[in-house]
Each structure stands twice: as structure tokens, then as C-alpha cells.
Symmetry: C2
DNA sequence: TTAACGTCGTGATTTTTGTAACAACGTTAA
DNA sequence: TTAACGTTGTTACAAAAATCACGACGTTAA
């Protein structure tokens, strides 16, 4: 895949958003779509949409626009692995449970295949058909299931330790819901999802709106 | 505040991250800190750190670095409102519960003061001292409590409708956990937090790490 | 006294990201 | 046949963000 070299991160993010909406269009039996429609559905601009598709080497027709099915496949070829990627979820509390309920079955190529927790009442149980293991078994299971991606939903105080164990076991990508910066080797890709920061940011920008209105 | 005009969004995000770590330093009784230490703790570069502080008009000393307390206050003066901002949480399921547990009491200037749900078993109950109201009362409560920020944690199928109701009631900032693009007036600030997209992105970049290792 | 050091603040530069402009090309309708 | 239309692909341009490079300024120690 020659194009794959230097696609901007922002483009990757948008491609995933496009796909989400394209899957909806497919549900609605739509077969073709124009860039300005995708833009409308996703909050991007039409030019941005077209350029993003250009970057992954998918070309539409100036008459019918883009073929929904083909486009979904092209994005998939680009962002997905050939095989399904297995995912581990560590910390099966309220948050972990919500994540599990929500994620499971949403994407063909992503599957949570192992849960980990320390709580003896949770270890050994099976949720959504997935077994919950004690954290001691992280190396064993991660290796055996060839898991590279993990979701960390444990309390702040345990997140660093858990993350290190995961990386040691072979994990190379982490979605981190704990409100700390994980200190890990730079080759591990970490996406942080601290909710407090999100709310703070929205609180900040929501205020500017109010300020603006006052001036009118 | 004259500086407040044109601070980049990325800087705002980093300032909030800096503050999170500075609050930890304060807990540890640290009183001063250098830019390279903050950089280390947050994943930024030292220059970026200094630049960001420059932008909000806080200046350190080249000898002692930055005063932790003062810096926390300066960031606060910049990003926080003078009074506490009240926040509404809509959808008290697994996700909503986790958000509530986690957010409440973490920040002086942000407080969840109202819950909304449609489930009769939840409406009327009190969690963390906060009452859960039926969604019909959104306009009334939002107005009465002067709430401008809301967190949407309802199922996908209801998110758009709920968001519209919130905006109609006066909400100007939303953290959206439903996996859809909310179609709202452009002056409403929306932060989307779709977990599937986060995992997909991490899955993508985690793979590149593996690829790289293969080449060595 | 002065030179070496470490850090800050900031102008200059590079890199990344987004936007505008427009040619190319079917399609439609005069 | 031809002109007008709407959309795509792409080049050129602009804006935003990150990085580099260096002067300024206490502090330390020779
Ligand atoms: N970023 C966010 O959006 C957000 C939102 C809510 C919670 N959180 C964070 O996620 C954490 C989990 O939230 P929650 O509401 O599910 O809390 P919770 O207490 O309901 O769940 C935590 C789970 O982690 C397990 N656990 C504890 N230590 C562990 C370890 N060392 N290894 C494996 N599992 C372990 C516990 O047994 C429990 O099941 C919170 O502490 C908070 O830091 C983040
Ligand atoms: N983005 C993410 O990270 C993420 C993760 C998990 C879930 N989700 C989304 O958030 C939603 C909630 O997740 P959950 O696990 O808490 O689901 P849940 O079913 O446990 O909770 C949903 C809650 O919303 C309430 N609700 C339903 N319709 C409502 C309405 N019109 N107004 C007010 N409340 C209403 C329900 O009564 C329930 O209490 C999911 O459907 C999913 O779309 C997002």
C-alpha cells in the first residue's frame, strides 16, 4: 500500500467519521452520495471530503458522486487490518461495562475478546460471551489471543501499573480512560479520554457563546 | 482579559492537561516546577509549555521556573468561569453512572446539578445527592439552575432529539457520547466522544508500530 | 570580576492542516 | 451541436500549529 505512508492524523479521524455515516447510509439503502452530502452529515467541508478520499486513492464519478459500498470498502482497506483485531478491556466497572455493551458487535474488524479485573466477584464471570480473567493472566491471554489493542478503564491509582503490564505483554495501542498521562515507551500509541478535560473544554467554549450573545 | 481573544484550541486543551498535573504536584507539596518537568508529565515539549503560558500572560522565573500555585490560578482565571458552572447529565445508564461517579467533586468550578432520564425507575431517585428529573422538565430545570453545559449519554436513537431539547432550553455546550453527529445551530459547541472511533484509531496506529517492528 | 550554566521569552522558520480556485468531464436541455 | 450545469480531482495558496534558534538574565563557582 504505497499511499499509506504519510496520511495526516486528522484525515484518519475524518475517514472513520465518514465511514460511520456511510454505514448508516447503507442501512438506508442509499447507494451513492455526493461530497457535499457527506460533508453535511459529518461536519466537514466538501473539499475536505474529496481530498481525504483522494488521499486513500478512491475516486468517485462527477455524475453519481461516490458509491457507498465501494467507499466503505476502500476506507476499510485503508484503516482496518486484514484480519479482525482482538481487543482487551481492563477494568470491568461501570465504565468498562458501558464500553463493552456499546462496542461489542459494532465493527466487523474489532472484537473485545478478553476482560481483566482484580475483583474476585468479577473474575471468572462471562459477559457478552467474554470471559473475565485475573490480571495475572494478562501476559498469557494477550499473547495467546494475539491482542495488540487494550482499553484501560481502571481507577487512576492502578492505571500506570496496568498499562505497563499490558505493554510488557505485547500491547502497542491503548485507549486510556484514566485521568493520568501514562508513561510508556514512545512506540506505544495512546489515546487519552479524560472526561473532566472534555467537560472543562466544553464549559470554556460554551461560555464564549454566551458572551457573544450578550454583545448583540 | 485582553489576551483571551485568539488562543488556539490546542493550547486550551494543553492548558487543561497542565493544570491536571499541576494539581497533582500541589498535592505532593511541590511549589515550583520547570517547563521541562511539565513537558515530561504531560507529553508536550518544553518550548510548547513556555509558549502556552506566555499566551495566557503568566511568566515564570528563569531561576525557579514556575510557581505551582500561581500557575494553577492563572490557568484557572483563564479557562474557568468566575462562578461555578452547573452541568446537566442526560441518560443515567451505565455510562452516565460512570461519568457521574467520576466527575463529581473533581473540579471546584464544575458541578453536575441535574440528572435527566426517561426510565420511571430512575426518575425521582437521588444519586450523589443529585436528583433525577424526567426529560419533560429539561426547560424548567435548565433555566432555573442556569445550566449551560450538558453531557449526553442516551442511546443513539434519542440523542438528536435530546440535544435539540437541551439547546432549546438554553444549553450552549455539549459533550456527546452518542455515536452520531448532532445537527445543531453552529453557535452550540459540541465535543464528540465516540468510543468506537477512538478504538478504531488506536487499532490503526497500533498496527503501524507492529509493522515497523517487522522491518527491523 | 568574569565565565559557564540553566532556564525563560520570543522572533524566525518549518511543518501541518485547511481553503480557494479552477480545469476536466459527463449530463441535460436548448 | 452546443452551451449551461454540477460535481470531481488537483494545484496553488493561506492559516494554524509546532519547532528551532538565540538573546536575556539570575546564579554559581572559579
Ligand atoms: N475518562 C473518563 O471518561 C472516565 C469516566 C469515568 C471513569 N473514569 C476512570 O475510569 C475508572 C473506572 O471507572 P468506573 O466508574 O468504571 O469505576 P469502577 O470502580 O466502577 O470500576 C473500576 C474497575 O476496575 C477494577 N480494577 C481495580 N484495580 C484494578 C487493577 N489493578 N487491574 C484490573 N482491574 C482493576 C475494579 O475491580 C473495578 O471493577 C475511574 O476510576 C476513573 O479513573 C474515566
Ligand atoms: N461514546 C462512548 O464512549 C460510549 C460508550 C458507551 C455507550 N455510549 C453511548 O451512550 C449510550 C448510553 O450508554 P449506556 O451503556 O449508559 O446505555 P444504558 O442503556 O445503560 O443507558 C441509557 C440511559 O439513557 C436513558 N434514556 C433513554 N432514552 C432517553 C431519553 N430520550 N431521554 C433521557 N434518557 C433516556 C435510559 O433510560 C438509560 O438510563 C449508548 O446507547 C451509546 O450510544 C457511548
Amino acid at each position: 500500500m504505497k499511499t499509506k505512508a504519510n496520511i495526516p492524523e486528522k484525515t484518519i479521524e475524518r475517514l472513520l467519521i465518514y465511514r460511520r455515516e456511510l454505514l448508516n447510509l447503507k442501512q438506508e439503502m442509499k447507494t451513492a452520495v455526493f461530497s457535499h452530502q457527506i460533508a453535511q452529515l459529518t461536519g466537514a467541508t466538501p473539499v475536505q471530503v474529496r481530498r481525504d478520499f483522494m488521499q486513500i486513492g478512491y475516486f468517485g464519478s462527477s455524475v453519481h458522486g461516490y458509491n457507498v459500498d465501494e467507499l466503505i470498502n476502500s476506507i476499510g482497506e485503508f484503516v482496518d487490518d486484514v484480519q479482525t483485531q482482538n481487543v482487551a478491556l481492563v477494568g470491568v466497572g461501570h465504565l468498562g461495562r458501558a464500553i463493552l455493551d456499546y462496542l461489542q458487535g459494532r465493527r466487523e474488524k474489532l472484537k473485545i475478546t478478553a476482560l481483566f479485573d482484580v475483583d474476585p466477584t468479577k473474575v471468572g464471570s462471562v459477559l457478552h460471551g467474554i470471559r473475565c480473567y485475573p490480571t495475572e493472566q494478562i501476559p498469557e491471554i494477550i499473547t495467546h489471543e494475539n491482542i495488540k489493542v487494550a482499553i484501560v478503564a481502571v481507577p487512576e491509582s492502578n492505571a500506570q501499573e496496568v498499562a505497563e503490564r499490558l505493554v510488557w505483554a505485547g500491547i502497542t495501542g491503548i485507549v486510556n480512560y484514566a485521568p493520568i498521562k501514562l508513561n510508556l515507551p514512545p512506540e506505544v500509541y495512546v489515546e487519552n479520554r479524560d472526561m473532566v478535560l472534555a467537560v472543562e473544554k466544553v464549559a470554556f467554549y460554551s461560555r464564549r457563546v454566551n458572551k457573544k450573545e450578550e454583545l448583540l
